[in-house]
């Protein structure tokens, strides 16, 4: 019987069109991720945490003319034996329609995809985008630490470490001496190798201080956490070791053991800032003296302070001990009393910013850490 078609099973051509367009789409996704980042950070702990982060994103699509999506979940036609009035399916309802989890109300054409990104890559992407200055830290001359540096050569080694330049040099020398044209001999091979060198140790300590007297709603908690996250991420890139110190205060300062408490505590009484500054200054002098340590200090506050609190004096005592003094006023008053009392401090290292909205987190982090420029007012 003819005319029945044929079957082929041949090696498939190396076709890269799909992969190329996929790469272009991935590039566009990256932009979308950057826009989404301030919200993603809320879920991440500053220390530890998962190595890969899942980011839910709307599927990227071209705009087109389409009917207005219905407010209520759309009805439809299905098939199943039964009688009228039967409940044929049930899905959880989260608040308003349109927020269901894959159920009805998921607007057509706006399905979500989850993109998994490497945590470090993510941080790298944002910090590159922020273009923050590089730091030069102090390092005590007596404190060094052995590290391996690739600055030596050997006659044996793994092929991946082959030093082509020196191999060629050795081959030329040998063949010239022997009055031969250029040729290679196994003895010519040179490999890169490591040698131990003493590197000066730099380390940073970051003090986070938070005012727990006012109410710390979800919004402020998020704002302070996001700021702390990016500040820490930036410092981690500059120093091989970064230690975090968590402090809170109402009228009395208190040092915390862990990060989780720092973002949980709240609802205290009055506010006195000076004792906290004194206590931290004392702690620095005792444990992390500025001659051998790079101390960074960030204060999250709603900007409130009791009258008669010698804040200015306390801050001036703290100032020579730190390389950076950041005051972050969170959503609230137009200009807190604290900010007014501290505005005469020299900048740098003092820097005050105000943070009102989630969208501003990255702009505020940039304002907070910029070396040059006048006292930043925040980006709100």
């Amino acid at each position: 019987m003819d005319n029945v078609g044929r079957v082929f099973h041949t090696p498939w051509d190396l076709n890269r069109k799909g992969s190329l367009d996929q790469a272009r789409h991935a590039e566009k996704l990256k932009d979308a991720i950057l826009r989404k980042l301030p919200e993603v950070v809320q879920e991440l702990p500053l220390e530890g945490g998962p190595a890969r982060v899942k980011i839910p994103l709307k599927v990227l699509d071209l705009p087109k003319f389409r009917p207005k999506p219905p407010e209520e979940p759309d009805d439809g036609i299905g098939q199943k034996p039964g009688k009228p009035g039967d409940i044929v399916a049930r899905v959880p309802r989260g608040g308003a329609p349109g927020q269901g989890d894959g159920g009805p109300g998921d607007r057509p054409g706006e399905h979500e995809v989850e993109v998994e990104v490497d945590r470090e890559t993510l941080i790298q992407m944002v910090l590159d985008d922020l273009k923050l200055p590089r730091l030069t830290g102090v390092s005590p001359p007596e404190l060094t630490e052995p590290t391996d540096a690739w600055n030596s050569r050997r006659d044996h080694g793994p092929l991946s470490a082959l030093d082509r330049r020196h191999t060629l040099k050795a081959a030329i020398m040998r063949s010239q001496i022997a009055r031969q044209s250029l040729n290679f001999h196994p003895d010519d091979l040179k490999y890169r190798a490591t040698r131990e060198v003493e590197e000066p140790v730099t380390r940073a300590t970051v003090y986070f201080l938070r005012d727990i007297s006012g109410s710390m709603g979800d919004e402020r908690k998020f704002l302070s956490k996001a700021t702390a996250f990016w500040v820490t991420a930036w410092l981690r890139r500059q120093y091989p070791t970064v230690r975090l110190e968590w402090w809170v205060h109402d009228t009395e300062p208190q040092r915390l053991e862990s990060e989780s408490l720092f973002f949980q505590l709240g609802e205290g009484g009055g506010t006195r800032v000076a004792p906290a500054y004194y206590a931290i200054a004392e702690h620095m002098r005792l444990h992390y003296p500025p001659q051998t340590n790079n101390n960074y200090f960030f204060h999250f506050t709603d900007g409130d302070v009791f009258g008669g609190d010698p804040v200015g004096d306390a801050a001036r005592e703290l100032l020579p001990l730190v390389r950076w003094f950041g005051l972050v006023e969170l959503a609230g008053l137009t200009r807190g009393a604290l900010g007014r009392q501290l505005q005469d401090l020299s900048s740098p290292p003092f820097r005050a910013v105000r943070l009102n909205r989630r969208e501003d987190v990255l702009a505020v982090v940039r304002a907070l850490l910029e070396t040059a420029g006048p006292k930043a007012e925040g980006a709100s």
Binding site: R6, F8, N15, K64, R66, K68, G78, V113
Partner: protein, 436 residues
């Protein structure tokens, strides 16, 4: 020759013979066994040789991810070329391959006989491949980004295309038979050369075609891109109208063929399992495999195989439902219309707010009309009304009972503004969109 190729080459004549025994005569198909990457690439682009764009890359990526997660397996992908090419997934079991071959014969039968499938001549993929080559040239010459921007804007209005028969008549230069080699001869002095290319007769529903030809700002290569995107929109439109017929008939055919074909008992069980997995009813939507298969099966029982087939080959999905989905068939198939209601359930963990899909007690005729309307759904029609004295383009969304999504409409209009080069207005019922 691989083992699979060998077995299927022997299986293929048997399958065609079994089809012929039923009185069916599908066109010969070229089967090609390909790896998963290839089949997902073909599925995301729709046709071999397609030009590239990131939206296809996105679909490719999502399909591959689903496949890697073990869901949404594509057993085959058949393309209406001449002859049709069916791509079979390399990792299918032998039973799956045999089922898929039988399934594809059903598709091939539709290709040969359906009034809507017979259009196009089966060479459109070559038109597209030639376009993809030209686009690659544009990328080199004008930059990948410039080409992508034009593609973005044109593909956004790919649904707003229409066939304009008046257009070809309006131009004396192109009417009459086209002589592809005319340029080899000395040009005859033409008495009355047309002063300008043909004007569209307004109003027209062919928005993209209008922009491609009449826009005062597009360059030749940009017009070419718009024109290719328009042709593709027109090519896909009839194919979208016979999805249920296609899948239903293919499923019907593989169900009818499999018992006649040389499959071992183990393979028969495996094939039946795959069939049950693919063609299964869904309480919340209409599975085209299941619904098409059972619906056409009913028609075959009532009219006989060949008369039922010849009726089906004259209908679109919507008209088939409207003409043949009787109240008895609605009841026999247990179809229903459901609505989402807010409700609460009590669980051991406490009360939870839920959406309940409640089965409605509708007249089967209403359900039939609802389904037919849903199947006939077309992209919103946007008509070019006129170009006003300030060169502004005035568009109107044809009344179809639903307003446009304002946010998306504005974004789309901004793209049209760039293609047109002057401000664009869009009337949608009471609302007016403006892209300055």
């Amino acid at each position: 020759m691989s083992h699979m190729e060998e077995v299927l080459s022997k299986f293929l004549p048997a399958a065609y013979e079994a089809m012929a025994a039923l009185g069916l005569d599908p066109v010969p198909i070229d089967f090609e066994i390909v790896p998963a990457d290839a089949i997902y690439e073909l599925a995301s682009y729709g046709l071999p040789g397609h030009y590239g764009h990131w939206t296809f890359g996105r679909d490719y990526w999502r399909m591959k991810r689903q496949f890697e997660a073990g869901a949404g397996r594509l057993y085959e992908m058949i393309i209406e070329t001449s002859p049709p090419v069916a791509y079979l997934l390399e990792s299918n079991t032998m039973a799956a391959q045999k089922l898929v071959v039988a399934h594809c014969l059903g598709h091939a039968d539709v290709f040969r006989h359906h009034v809507l499938a017979a259009q196009g001549g089966g060479q459109f993929h070559q038109t597209l491949a030639a376009a993809a080559d030209r686009f690659a040239g544009y990328r080199t010459e004008y930059g990948a980004l410039a080409v992508e921007v034009v593609l973005d804007r044109a593909m956004a209005i790919q649904g707003q295309v229409a066939v304009e028969p008046e257009l070809t008549d309006a131009n004396p230069a192109t009417s009459g038979p086209v002589d592809a080699y005319a340029d080899l001869w000395a040009k005859p002095a033409r008495a009355d050369p047309p002063a300008r290319p043909p004007r569209y007769r307004l109003p027209t529903a062919d928005l993209l075609g209008f922009l491609a030809r009449e826009s005062p700002v597009l360059t030749a290569w940009e017009r070419d891109i718009c024109d290719v995107v328009r042709m593709e929109g027109l090519y896909h439109r009839p194919k979208r109208q016979i999805k249920i017929i296609h899948e239903g008939w293919a499923t019907f055919c593989h169900q009818a063929l499999l018992p006649q074909l040389p499959l071992s008992p183990g393979e028969q069980i495996e094939a039946a399992r795959i069939h049950a997995q693919v063609a299964r009813p869904d309480p919340l939507s209409l599975n085209p495999y299941w619904f098409g298969w059972r619906f056409l099966q009913g028609l075959v029982e009532d009219y006989g195989l060949l008369p039922a087939r010849s009726r089906m080959m004259q209908e679109s999905d919507a008209s088939l439902v409207r003409n043949y989905l009787t109240p008895e068939r609605v009841r026999a198939l247990d179809l229903y219309h459901y609505r989402w209601n807010q409700g609460y359930v009590t669980t051991p963990q406490g009360g939870r707010a839920v959406w309940n899909a409640e089965r409605q007690d509708d007249d089967p005729r209403e359900l039939r009309d609802l389904l037919a309307n849903a199947l006939a759904e077309r992209p919103p029609e946007v008509v070019v009304e006129m170009v006003d004295g300030d060169d502004r383009l005035v568009l109107r969304h044809s009344e179809d009972g639903t307003a446009l999504d304002p946010e998306w409409a504005q974004l789309t209009l901004d793209g049209i503004r760039q293609l047109w080069g002057h401000p664009v207005l869009l009337h949608d019922g009471e609302s007016l969109y403006v892209a300055q």
